[in-house]
């Protein structure tokens, strides 16, 4: 289909500001009378605050005031594992206890050091398996797990059960959750190759470049908060509730965000924004709270660490017959997630196994806050399952590409324990495209070739994430100038999805991009509700809403034209910013004219009447404020059917030096399968950015805690080992299948998360390949692990542990 905007490159409006540095992040704002807040955080992994003596600090020159958990929660703190604004019951080192405001940061920092906090030290635990021991410490006050609607609970195994799991055996304890389909026993019976083993994934932090700094002030009873987030309206909607300010009195300003990766999608992950909001309210001054890198590490979220046992069976032809997965998840000191379930879901979707069983237990530890991180679960399992597939392929004499093809998801298939049909799925096409671009077959002759201490490894891997939602709202406006104003609440995460999705509205109205304005960046510009920008959903979800709102405007244009100029709305079409009769293009209105007519007519044309009944409360507030100010297109998106998947395939060639444990990625090709491509440049960015993340997951990034004292050891970029420019390939070739999805008006689906998973899967497969099929069962696989393996060192074999990766 020939599109005007879809599938074409463009420059998103925030790019010049980002290139020149003129765009403003939360820390860049100032306000007259602004004071600076610093956080005092817990130095102890698990404690209870007994007393706070701030008298000396408060007496210092320039100190304005402090905010404690008692100020924030006068009726007591909510009992949950969620992060709180401030707490008296810290369950991790670095959890905010109080904030202090002073005339400048230095004074605040000096004053913070003068505050005396008396803690009661409580037992702490860093590894869920330690907590599952009969006498293991509990991470929370009241247990080591949190049961929805029931509260804290204690989950214990016998010492033998823990020891047996650590020794590599299938856990025998009762799981908290079991989900299954198919006949597992029969499917394993049909298998001619069965792999069984344990694995761990380090649950490493998000490390957003922009920390959770925020500026807050109150004016005329309204709270203005400058912060960073992945989502705009969905985030603000939730944050209003956390702070306790009516939605209509809350203005969230967020023009740009320096990274989120899942932990700034929803306000529950960033309650610390409540600190400047509440402190500003208390001291009646604008408050800038700057969050440090270490604080960002602690409260900025980390992926759940997984410790698992996996059993996979393959039929003689390579078809995956069954997968049995048992995972203990690390929920950290705060937060949690469903990564383990998603891991099982991912295997089911990607490999279409006849039978899948997932069993899981999630346990708290006194480590950093946990929550969704780019492909939560799907991407942890990607580097675990991929080498297993390869070993199975070699055992069964099937090619490694072929074993993936025969197990591929296709349109008409279902996936996941819920057996959800795909809206469309083109995995075989993606595999073929990747294999062709990489010359997978041609390269096979290089497989395991050695050059001195170096050996070549080839890997191919797949990534998946459910990539689309629905049920949100869309608003477009037009004034007498005839410009299209697309109100977009998606949030500017750096993916430019706020702009890409807006292009669907421009497409509907055949509007030149120069005549469009994206209205976004602050909620007092009256933006519709969106789904939080996580789960790779934005492209699918918000092209639907933007498209729908523009369609509504188009329908109204035709209606106005037909009423004014005669004929039936069906007799009208649009072109060149005009609505006109199909038969006689001279009969019609320019967009400016029709907008003016709409404003003259009012009522449903300006959002004053006949609104969709299902509009979210947030959208209703926006619409009520926009009503009568211009020509409005308004839309509430009905729910879609099926699972719109985002798929990726990556192939890579590495050279592994057996003497140094170092890997060098020589070549990498990543192919996306995400329906119609909205914005090729954005797609390329997603695939390349995801690749860097995947490389980090497989080979570098780690999460360290000192087992003796519960101190975090990888709070910054250096110790976390985020991959650098020279750890990634010079060029990552990208491409995409570009076949439309029927459940999206422009055929688009998301891609953000799987782009990481396939790279991790391919890279780990390549490492395994270079080491003659040795499966580490771990992410990351670091140089020391490779050296130890090659040298046959066993002394260092650390038992399964998620926070201290196996070295």
């Amino acid at each position: 289909m020939a599109y005007m905007h879809i599938g074409k490159d463009f420059t998103p409006p925030d790019v010049p500001g980002k290139v020149t540095g003129r765009i403003k992040y939360a820390e860049d704002y100032t306000r007259e009378g602004m004071v600076y807040a610093r956080l005092l955080t817990s130095p102890i992994p698990h404690a209870r605050v007994i007393d706070i003596d701030a008298s000396e600090a408060l007496a210092m020159d320039g100190v304005i005031g402090i905010l404690t958990a008692d100020d924030v929660y006068p009726d007591g703190e909510p009992q949950s594992t969620s992060l709180k604004i401030l707490t008296n019951e810290p369950t991790l080192v670095g959890e905010p206890i109080l904030a202090l405001a002073a005339v400048d940061e230095k004074t605040a920092e000096t004053a913070i050091a003068a505050i005396s906090v008396t803690f009661e030290r409580l037992p702490f635990v860093l590894d869920p398996l330690d907590s599952l021991q009969p006498d293991g410490a509990d991470a929370y006050n009241g247990g080591n797990t949190f049961v929805f609607r029931q509260g804290f609970a204690g989950e214990k195994w016998t010492a033998d059960q823990v020891a047996s799991f650590r020794a590599g055996n299938e856990p025998t304890a009762e799981p908290q959750q079991t989900v299954a389909y198919g006949d597992l026993e029969a499917s394993f019976g049909e298998s001619s190759y069965v792999y069984e083993g344990t694995f761990t994934n380090a649950g490493y932090p998000h490390h957003s470049m922009e920390p959770r700094s925020a500026l807050a002030y109150w004016e005329d009873g309204k709270l203005f908060l400058h912060g960073g987030s992945q989502s705009l309206t969905a985030f603000a909607d939730g944050l209003a509730g956390i702070i306790g300010v009516p939605k209509e009195d809350f203005v969230f300003v967020n023009a740009a965000t320096g990274g989120g990766f899942g932990q700034r999608a929803r306000a529950g992950s960033v309650p610390v924004y409540g600190v400047p909001a509440k402190l500003s309210q208390k001291i009646n001054r604008p408050v800038m709270m700057r969050v440090t890198r270490e604080e960002e590490f602690t409260i900025g979220g980390a992926r759940q660490g997984l410790t698992g046992w996996i059993k996979v069976g393959f039929k003689p032809d390579g078809v995956m017959a069954a997968c049995d997965l048992w995972i203990v998840s690390d929920n950290g000191g705060k937060g949690g997630g469903a990564d383990a379930y998603s891991a099982a879901d991912c295997i089911s979707v990607l490999y279409q196994a006849d039978a899948v069983r997932f069993r899981g237990t999630a346990i708290g530890t006194n480590t950093a806050h946990r929550g969704a991180q780019r492909g939560p679960g799907q991407n942890q399992i990607a580097p675990i399952i991929s080498p297993i597939l390869d070993v199975a392929a070699d055992e069964l004499g099937v090619s490694r590409l072929e074993i993936r093809k025969i197990n591929s998801a296709m349109t008409g298939d279902v996936g996941g324990p819920q057996r959800t049909p795909f809206t469309s799925a083109y995995m075989p096409e993606a595999l073929e495209q990747a294999a062709a671009a990489f010359d997978w077959e041609g390269r096979q002759s290089r497989r395991r070739q050695t050059n001195g201490s170096k050996v070549v490894g080839l890997g191919i891997g797949q990534g998946y994430h459910n990539a689309g939602r629905s049920g949100m709202d869309g608003i477009v406006m037009m004034g007498a100038d005839g410009r299209l104003k697309i109100h977009n609440g998606v949030g500017n995460l750096g993916t430019y999805s706020y702009a890409s999705t807006s292009r669907a509205a421009a497409e509907v109205l055949q509007m030149p991009w120069e005549s469009c304005d994206i209205i976004t960046g602050r909620t007092d510009l009256h933006l519709p509700i969106t789904s939080p920008q996580d789960g790779s959903n934005s492209i699918f979800t918000n092209t639907r809403t933007c498209y729908g709102a523009a369609q509504d405007m188009l329908t109204k244009m035709k209606e106005i034209a037909a009423t004014d100029l005669g004929g039936d709305p069906a007799d009208y079409d649009i072109s060149n910013e005009r609505v006109h009769q199909i038969a006689d293009e001279s009969v019609g209105y320019s967009y400016a004219e029709v907008a003016q007519r709409a404003m003259d007519l009012g009522g449903k044309f300006t959002g004053s009447a006949e609104l969709p009944e299902e509009l979210a409360e947030w959208t209703q507030i926006a619409v009520s404020r926009l009503a009568g100010t211009g020509f409005m297109g308004i839309f509430h998106d009905p729910r879609h059917e099926g699972n719109p998947p985002g798929f990726t395939v990556t192939a890579c060639e590495i050279e592994l030096d057996k003497e140094t444990g170092k890997i060098d990625i020589l070549e990498m090709v990543s192919i996306g399968e995400a329906g119609t491509i909205m914005h090729p440049k954005g797609m390329d960015n997603q695939l390349v950015g995801g690749a860097v993340w995947g490389i980090g997951l497989s080979a570098y990034e780690r999460h360290l805690y000192d087992p003796q004292n519960g101190l975090p050891a990888s709070t910054g970029y250096w110790q976390s080992k985020v991959p650098t420019y020279l750890d990634t390939p010079l060029k990552i070739e990208t491409g995409w299948v570009d076949l439309p999805d029927p459940e999206n008006p422009v055929g688009a689906r998301g891609i953000g998360e799987p782009s990481m998973g396939s790279v991790s899967a391919a890279l780990t497969a390549a490492i395994t390949d270079a080491l003659d099929g040795h499966i580490f069962g771990a992410s990351p696989i670091t140089a020391d692990m490779i050296i130890n393996h090659v040298a046959g060192t066993t002394e260092e074999a650390v038992p399964l542990a998620q926070n201290n990766f196996r070295g």
Partner: protein, 332 residues
């Protein structure tokens, strides 16, 4: 109660002497209260996190006499201590005669850090033990405990050799290169100048647990002299770090060889990141003297290099890694 909120520069006096005498006088006068500031890459973190609290900084980078690379009449070269690592890596003289040092300097940290980081700073930088860097009062910080060397301590990056209560290692990339090149450190103070061989410049925890070098209060490392003994010798340099940029070595090796007809006449080999000081492999040097620079010679001495190693919980891998690097250096 310790405040765990960090990352704000405290009030501090800044001295920017433009000549040697003033700098040495300041160093003498301020003693331990005067923090010597080169490129600042091992300074601001300490100060902003308030884990080191000197009252003043003496910025050395404005003293021209301590900058630059000059050739002496005897063929040796002298490198001013506040010369940047980038300048050293790109200097034609260093590149042509002491390629080992050029290579070592070119792989320190990241380009941005090398652009401001100085040779002196790279040599006298403090250890990177994360417990110590966190500001804990460990032995090295004047306390009475080592958090890294315990049954569960995270010590993957720590020492194989020479530990004495503290198990931290030397993080420098240029130090092993200078030890291999038999360089001399020029140390100045208001009372004069002394020269110390590179090997003796660094000090282990057994002799001084609070310092990484033998610099006394009031002394400044002002230059490094490299004799022409090893100019244009056969060099081998390699650094293995987790990442290829912005990382400290897991193990690095610097080796210089003089060969005749493929036979090793003399050599000097030093490894970094395995001990608190660059570890000179004198036994290996002796063992390979008169041997061919070959795979078999390399294999025959590799284990000798780690004979005294005492691995900790998580750094066993450094033993085979160091052996491999010794092999690679010898076989060339």
């Amino acid at each position: 109660m310790v405040a765990t909120s960090h990352d704000v520069m405290p009030d501090i006096e800044l001295y920017q002497p433009a000549d040697e005498a003033t700098a040495l006088d300041l160093a003498d006068r301020l003693g331990n209260e005067g923090w010597l500031l080169g490129g600042g890459q091992d300074t601001y973190g300490w100060l902003k996190d308030r884990n080191k609290t000197p009252s003043a900084m003496i910025e050395l980078t404005q003293i021209d006499a301590w900058k630059g690379i000059t050739e002496n009449s005897d063929g040796s070269i002298e490198i001013g201590a506040v010369t940047t690592l980038t300048e050293i890596a790109k200097n034609p003289l260093v590149q042509s005669r002491y390629g080992l040092l050029a290579k070592a300097a070119s792989i320190v940290a990241s380009p941005q850090i090398r652009n401001v980081g100085t040779l002196g700073g790279n040599l006298v930088q403090d250890t990177r033990c994360w417990y110590y860097r966190r500001g804990l009062d460990c032995y090295r910080a004047g306390g009475n405990i080592c958090y890294a060397d315990s049954p569960e301590g995270l010590n993957r990056e720590h020492a194989l050799f020479g530990a004495s209560r503290c198990v931290a290692v030397s993080p420098s990339d240029t130090a092993p290169a200078l030890v291999a090149l038999d360089a001399t450190m020029v140390v100045s103070s208001s009372s004069g100048q002394r020269e110390i061989s590179a090997q003796d410049f660094f000090v282990g925890p057994d002799r001084d647990i609070l310092h990484m070098t033998v610099l006394n209060e009031g002394e400044i490392l002002t230059a490094v002299r490299i004799p022409n003994t090893w100019a244009n010798a056969e060099f081998y340099w390699e650094k293995v770090a987790d990442r290829n940029v912005w990382d400290f070595a897991l193990v690095n090796i610097a080796a210089v060889f003089k060969t005749t007809g493929g036979t090793i006449e003399d050599s000097r080999i030093a490894c970094g990141a395995v001990e608190c000081v660059p570890r000179r492999l004198t036994e290996v040097e002796s063992a390979i003297r008169g041997q061919a620079r070959s795979e078999s010679t390399a294999n025959s001495v590799a284990e000798m290099a780690t004979a005294d190693a005492r691995p900790l919980n998580y750094n066993n891998f450094k033993v085979p890694l160091m052996q491999n690097l010794v092999k690679r250096a010898i076989r060339g």
